[in-house]
Structure formats: structure tokens, C-alpha cells
Symmetry: C2
Subunit: 297 residues, 2 copies
Amino acid sequence: MTTAPMFEDWMKSVQVAMEQALLQYLPSVQQTPERLHEAMHYAVLDGGKRVRPLLVHAAGALFDADETELARAAVAVEMIHAYSLVHDDMPCMDDDALRRGKPTVHVKYDEACALLVGDALQSQAFDVLADGRLEPARQLSMVRLLAKASGSLGMCGGQAIDLASVGLTLSLEELEQMHTLKTGALLRVSVLLGALAGKQLSENEIAALDQYSSAIGLAFQVVDDVLDATADSATLGKTAGKDAADNKPTYVSILGLAQSQALAEKLRMEAHRALEQFGDKARRLRELADLIVQRKA
Amino acid sequence: MTTAPMFEDWMKSVQVAMEQALLQYLPSVQQTPERLHEAMHYAVLDGGKRVRPLLVHAAGALFDADETELARAAVAVEMIHAYSLVHDDMPCMDDDALRRGKPTVHVKYDEACALLVGDALQSQAFDVLADGRLEPARQLSMVRLLAKASGSLGMCGGQAIDLASVGLTLSLEELEQMHTLKTGALLRVSVLLGALAGKQLSENEIAALDQYSSAIGLAFQVVDDVLDATADSATLGKTAGKDAADNKPTYVSILGLAQSQALAEKLRMEAHRALEQFGDKARRLRELADLIVQRKA
């Protein structure tokens, strides 16, 4: 029996494999329209920690899912995430010039190009996922899950609530609901798609994974707010202190810094508890919960 | 044996049923976020001739497809079409204030809302189509066809080429390639999804339907250009003369008016010829080719 690699090494290997997989599933920059395809590559490649792909692979480990199908699901989710960042950064939304330490797509290219990059990445995500080799009925249910997580009752809906909440005083419950949609839905679907790449899930398994997902989803946002209030732009690779400057409600503005940090730790423990039934196979999911709470950027 | 209804009556009945189906598959305006859902309804309902849904239903008649599954495919295609109009009208793209005789979504709501309406409609389209009741492998292939028709090698790619061509002198071939992607891809997939709702297609059937689709796709654009040059805004329900004002290459600017009209008629005949093998069952597809070429708006 071989020893499992250390978390850092596992993470690195997923990130490297992910870069290859994304390149494989993106249209070639040699194909017409070349500039659009180049901008799609710019938006997707060489970026971020790949938290969602890591979740896909970590959840896939629960049921020994096929690596190719895991990579496919991870690519689909990451393309949705990347498109949402491109649109979110546009002047009519958050108007951000810096993302992952590089000029945002509408700055590097132009606004019309950024709009089309996002639109085309969304289509590409569904094309990739629908081309999977799993049992067709299960593959279809994965497409539906991704569509629901992306749409007006998921990520897009969360962004709409976020925009509408600028300058308002939100209660903790309202803030939570917003984030459950805005970032939570895509984190949850990452976990579910990874597990579904392994096998059809029982209701009990879905419930446990949902408990885990909702804990890390909220933790992710609480830590984002803490970092936005405490880290600098160079460390974050994006503009720090932007929430306060934009007068956006955050966990830090509602709970204060110390209580926000305590909440993140409490959510980390909840995530661990949700995984108990899966034993050692859930090791990577546990380590990811730790990463999400303990990250510095 | 009952006589088939007249084309006008058939068209009207599809349009009325379509309005119901769109309403059924859109998220309710009572659901959070209400404003986003209201704007999605505004973008989709009560609009246009529903050419793509008519094509879905007309192609479905070839193989006696189930009405519910045809409506589902028609809704999915129309949601993609509606999202593309919302994004296309935005200031960073065509910057149009009038669409189907009403203020465009970013004018009626705001730009951020228009961006999210388009994004959410695209997700919704895939959710609807992936929830179909056909044989799962065939349903998956329909999802892939819609994704490809929508993405950077289809509609989005055509829009990118269109944007890049403003102020340039395009050859007839380049103009044709642009339109084949920009509008042709979605018209083609409308025909294919309608037929696939009936049965798995043979290569020979796909080839005939593709010949039909490419003829009506080009005819559609040639007639659009003719109308843009000859009709007024009130008749069109959108700003007339915009192509010339924007210095965009069109069939009229390259071929002149008379030759453009002759080309449209030639393409109409090509569309009819492509349908010969299908006999009387292709009646609606023939009538739609006539409509596309002979319309006044």
C-alpha cells in the first residue's frame, strides 16, 4: 500500500493537471475568431487556486471516480466560475481593473470582448459537461445541477441580490442568503459533480455533502471578508478594502473581525463533522475545509 | 382525415402555445431575486415572431415529435436567442435603446441587470433542455448541439467577428461566414432539435436539414439587410438604417438592393429543394422559408 501524498503535493498535482485539462477543452487560439479565443484563454488559464476543481477531485475521491470524468466536471465548473469573474469585473458590475494580479479581461481587451468571453465560456462549460462518458441519465442530471447552480436561483441570483444590497443594512440572515447563492451554489455543485462522477448518490450522501458544502461555502465568504479587511492588494492579487470602499455589507461590517474569525473556525468544524460517515476517503475534503479557512489570500 | 390548418393559423397557434411554455419554464417573478426574474420575463415574453420556435415545431412535424418535448426544445432555443439580444443591445455592443418596439432591458432596468438577465437566461436554457424526457443519450446530444451553436464556434463567435468587422470591407464570403455563425448556427440548431425530438437522425437526414438551414439562415440575413435599408423603425420595431449608420458591411452594401433581393429568392428555392425527400410532412418548413424571405419586418 502506498502512502497518500501530502496535501500540498496533491493540491499542486491537481492544479497542474487542471491547467492541461482547461487547455484541452478550450477552443484553440488558432481557430476563428482568434481574438475571442485568445481572450477566453486569458480569462481561464494561469489563474487562482482552483478551489472548485480541487473540491471536484476531493469529492471524487470518496467514490473512486474516474480521473477523466472528474477533470471534465472540474473544467465545466471552473469555466462557469471564470465567466462569472469576467462579467463581475466589468464596469457595469464591480468595475475592477485587477484580477489574480493581472488586468481584467475588459481592460486587457475591451468590454464587448469581455461580454462575449463570458457568454462563450458558459456555453463551453455545458458543452464539455454534456460530452461526458458516464451513464447518460446521470450525466444529464449533472448538466441540470450545473445549470441550476449557475442561474437565477444560484450564482446569477446571488449577484443580483449583491448588487441590490450596496448601501443597505443587511441582517446576518440576508447576508448569508446572498452568499449561499452567489458563491455557495457553485461550491456545492463542485462537490456534488465530483461525487456523481463516482456513482449515483443516495439521499443520505447528498445531505451530508450539502452540509459540508454549505459550511465551507459560508466559511469561504467569511474568510474573504476578513481578508478584504486585513490583507493588502499585492497579497490578494485583487483590490483590497474594496467592500468597505463600495459600502458593501460584509461579515466583518456586521459581526466585527474577531467574531468573524470565530465563525469561520466554527464552520470549519461543522464541515469536518459532516464528513464523518465517509471515513478516510474524505481526507482531501477535510484538508480543503482547513485550507479555505486558514488561507492568507 | 382532417385538413391541416392554414399556415397563418398554425403559426398563430404555435406562438400562443410558446408564450405559455416560456412562462412555464421561466422562474416565477414571485421568487427571489424578484427584480431579476421580472427583467427575465420582460426580455423573453411578448416578443418577436418566434422564428426559432416555429422552426423547432415545423421540423418536429417531420417525424411526429411529441409536443411537450418540442415546446421544451423551442423554449431552450428562444431563451438563448433572447439572452443574445439583451447582451447585443448593451452599450458596449450595439448600444440599442429599442427592441421589438419596447425599451431594451438595460434601458428599462440597468446595465448590470441586463448582463445578469442574459447570463441567467443562458443557464436556464440548458436547465430546461437537460430536463427533457427523451432517451437520455439523445437528450444529451441535444444539449451539446445547443451549446455548440451558442458558443465561440457558433453565435458568440459570429458576434465577435461582427464587432471586429465594423468599418472594414468584407468580401461576400467573409460576410457569409460571419452570418453563418451569428444567426445561422441558432437557426440550424432549431431545425435539428425539432427533428431530434422526433427520432434519432440519419446522416442523410442531417445533411438535408443542414442544407435547408443554411439556405434559410443566409436568406434570413439577406432579408434583414434589405429591410434595414428599406423599412422604417416603426414597422421593424427596432432602429432602421442602423447598419449604414454604424458603417457595417451588409448584403445591400456589397451586392446592392436588387441583387440582394434576387439572392434571397434563390435561397428560398434552395431551401425548398433540400426538403424534397420529406414530402408533405415538410410543409411547415417550406412555408417558413417563404415567410423568412417574404416578410416585411
